[in-house]
């Protein structure tokens, strides 16, 4: 069987014992932290049910809520932009930069900005664009991409970071002391916060009722990025809108517990306007970019809409036995792990990301920990179907990009033959008879299965036959 790109990437991690061990320890740490703030399962399930209800309500009223959000934001003095895709979103950012004659950006952590490839776009056009989240900063310094949506540099060991800093940060002497390493990074960032023309952030939740952008973080870099530079641009997937301010505590409780095992993050930023007369700080202008990039299409698909319930906590990846072994980079997508297996093919198409939907045992660990009850295994299975077949009633514009084109005629032929046999008792009986009687002919090794396992041997007589005898 030929190797796929995904398998080649996965093999890199699978063959690196040190890396897999470190990775496993990191995932265990996150899992244990999460369990430690979930004292009672019943209580958490009740909280999750409330969270899910809020997210469902938000998706049910998505168009109306977005209109309300825009209206509230405008009234608050926040400028609102709509971006249909990545290119538009990047151009909007550049447009704002041109207006302000800005040259440099400082960024808080934002998966939406990763999704649209903003760093690459801006740097290519000669802007300076620096990540200020420590994990993102490390990843950027190394010329890599995040391997986890919450812990971007989780794949990097302390030693790897020590070597990276010694090599790339001017005047920094090699140390493996974590506090000194963080100090070195912060010293660089502190200057950049003061000098940057524009701060960029993501949005965890956008409250339609009040026009408030909520942003959680632990390092304070999010607050710096959104208050120190004179302009703040927030990039927000359209599904992040929620109806009311009072919905926030429930969702934040779920998010921070599931993501980092915290009851609440060190910083919770609620941004409702630019600097007002009399305010001592804050940006003179706040821009909100509402990013669609395929989300409307997902929203129109009743079988896949639950994808948009996601609050991006990353618990699914921390608990996924596949992610835990291969890490985020193997997926080759911005969003890795189970939610990535569901989101990436829908945002960027099954042609590009069709392979990762096969990288799942459907064991259900992700669905079990999802704080808003997204049936992730079911959605992965559904995308396997879409890869091979576009639903008959679905219009092209509504189809998952690349749907139906992942059908292999060989594989389809095998399943066709299997279907014929398994739905015809007579034919199946013949096959059963053949397999049991010809058991001696079954080769000792068949394909990849038996490269690491002994080949299972059919019994001399099937259960079907044995049961027939019993009832005679």
């Amino acid at each position: 069987m030929s190797h796929t790109d995904f398998q080649d990437r996965a093999a890199v991690t699978l063959n690196d014992v040190k890396l897999t061990t470190e990775f496993r320890n990191a995932m265990d740490f996150l899992r244990n932290k999460r369990s430690s703030v979930i004292p009672s399962r019943d209580e958490f399930e009740a909280l999750a049910a409330r969270g899910r209800a809020i997210r469902e309500e938000a998706l049910d009223q998505l168009p109306d809520l977005l209109v309300a959000l825009e209206k509230r934001c405008l009234a608050n003095g926040i400028q609102v932009h709509w971006a249909e895709d990545s290119a538009q979103a990047c151009e909007i950012v550049e447009g704002i930069a041109k207006d302000r004659q800005a040259r440099s950006f400082i960024k808080g952590k934002s998966m939406a900005s990763e999704e649209i490839g903003l760093n690459h776009f801006l740097i290519e056009r000669g802007y300076e664009c620096l990540e200020s989240d420590m994990g993102e900063y490390i990843v950027q310094l190394a010329g890599e991409t995040p391997s986890h949506i919450i812990m971007p540099a989780i794949h990097k060991s302390k030693v790897a970071i020590a070597e990276l800093f010694a090599e790339r940060i001017e005047g920094h002497r090699y140390t493996e002391n974590v506090d000194e390493l963080i100090g070195a990074g912060r010293a660089v960032l502190r200057e950049k916060f003061e000098a940057a023309d524009i701060g960029i952030s993501g949005v965890n939740f956008a409250v339609a009722e009040t026009g408030t952008l909520c942003l959680v973080e632990n390092e304070g870099n999010g607050r710096m990025s959104t208050t120190v530079p004179n302009t703040h641009i927030a990039i927000c997937g359209i599904e992040k809108v929620i109806p009311r301010l009072e919905d926030l505590p429930t969702l934040l409780s779920l998010l921070t517990r599931s993501a980092t095992g915290q009851k609440i993050t060190t910083y919770v930023n609620l941004i409702s306007s630019p600097r007002q007369p009399g305010d001592l700080d804050g940006p003179a202008a706040v821009h909100l970019i509402l990013l669609d990039n395929g989300r409307s299409r997902i929203h129109r698909d009743p079988e896949l809409r639950e994808t948009l319930l996601c609050i991006r906590c990353g618990a699914c990846m921390n608990h996924c036995p596949v992610y835990t072994r291969i890490g985020g980079h193997a997926y080759g997508s911005v969003y890795p792990g189970p939610i990535g297996q569901v989101v990436a093919p829908q945002l960027e198409g099954l042609a590009q990301h069709g392979e990762i939907v096969e990288a799942c045992t459907l064991n259900g660990a992700c669905g079990e920990v999802c704080p808003v009850g997204i049936p992730l295994p079911g959605l992965i299975r559904r995308l396997r179907e879409r890869k091979r077949h576009t639903p008959d009633e679905q219009a092209d514009a509504d189809a998952v990009p690349g749907s139906g084109r992942g059908r292999s005629w060989f594989e389809a032929g095998l399943w066709r033959a299997w279907t014929l046999a398994a739905s015809s008792p007579r034919l199946y009986s013949l096959i059963r008879l053949f397999v049991t009687r010809a058991r001696a002919l079954i080769p000792r090794r068949i394909g990849s299965w038996s490269s690491v396992r002994t080949q299972p041997k059919p019994a001399p007589r099937s259960l079907n036959e044995l049961m027939k005898d019993r009832h005679v």
């Binding site: 398998q7 036995p321 072994r325 459907l362 660990a365 008792p425 690491v452 019994a459 044995l466 049961m467």
Partner: protein, 260 residues
């Protein structure tokens, strides 16, 4: 004790035990071809409780392999042929968590837009995994006649997560008072089988299975039991290749041998 008082999950509330009650039995395609003795032992366990076991000869496979591989229409065709075999309003007992989960959780989804939707829902409400049925409905009392033995259990992900019936397997095996039951470290981690996953992602599957085997070996137990032939074939296949002296058994055979 009335039947319904201790039952909180699954289908058990609706089915109360009656002697000489009929039940359907589904052997599963893997047990049918590779481990028929487990099927026979499961039937014996059920008959010993006074039940009449019906085994429709036209049963083949529940359709799960195609369903999980994205071949929904193919799965539907097979599922339709199986659905038709179990029309009497009596329980369907299956010695596999994964096939039971297919009938209970996935048939309703598979038939959602089909004329047989009601029939699929009805069947789903009558489906039990073997240990679940023995504990929740039959409330069996096992009498252990075997020797003292340390045994390690592997419960499938379907049994744990889809059916939430891992506790019943624990309760059932817990009745065997000379058995020292253990679970491996990371017991709830997938064994790496995943049906066609093992074929499509051989390296990943092998990595997961290797970890599972190492955790089983580390227990020191010389016998592995489990309720899902798919997982057992996968784990046992690797243990054998590694020349391990651990013997694998389906729980039906294990329980029958210790109690008869």
């Amino acid at each position: 004790m009335t039947t319904s008082t201790r039952i909180t999950k699954g289908n058990a509330a609706e089915h109360q035990r009656k002697d000489s009650q009929e039940i359907y039995f589904y052997g599963t395609c893997l047990i049918d071809l590779f481990l028929p003795q487990a099927g026979i032992d499961a039937v014996r366990l059920l008959e010993r409780e006074g039940l009449k076991v019906l085994y429709p000869q036209a049963q083949t496979c529940c359709g799960q392999p195609a369903f999980n591989s994205g071949y929904r229409r193919e799965a539907l065709a097979v599922a339709r042929s199986q659905l038709a075999l179990f029309q009497k309003p009596i329980p369907l007992v299956i010695p596999s968590g994964s096939c039971a989960a297919m009938f209970r959780k996935d048939y309703p989804d598979l038939f959602r837009h089909e004329p047989e939707y009601e029939a699929a829902l009805d069947l789903a409400s009558r489906v039990y995994e073997l240990a679940e049925f023995m504990v929740d409905v039959l409330q069996v009392q096992l009498c252990d006649q075997g020797a003292e033995e340390a045994v390690i259990l592997h419960s499938s992900c379907s049994l744990r997560r889809s059916l939430s019936a891992h506790d019943q397997t624990l309760a059932l095996l817990g009745q065997l008072n000379k058995v020292h039951l253990q679970e491996p470290d990371r017991a709830s981690d997938c064994c790496g089988f995943g049906g066609t996953f093992a074929v499509k992602q051989p390296a990943l599957s092998a990595a997961l299975t290797r970890d599972k085997c190492a955790n089983i070996e580390a227990s020191g137990c010389k016998r592995l039991v489990g309720g899902d032939q798919g997982c057992l074939m996968n784990i046992d296949g690797m243990l054998q290749r590694q020349n391990s002296d651990i013997e694998s058994q389906h729980i039906a055979t294990f329980i029958w041998q210790r109690t008869s």
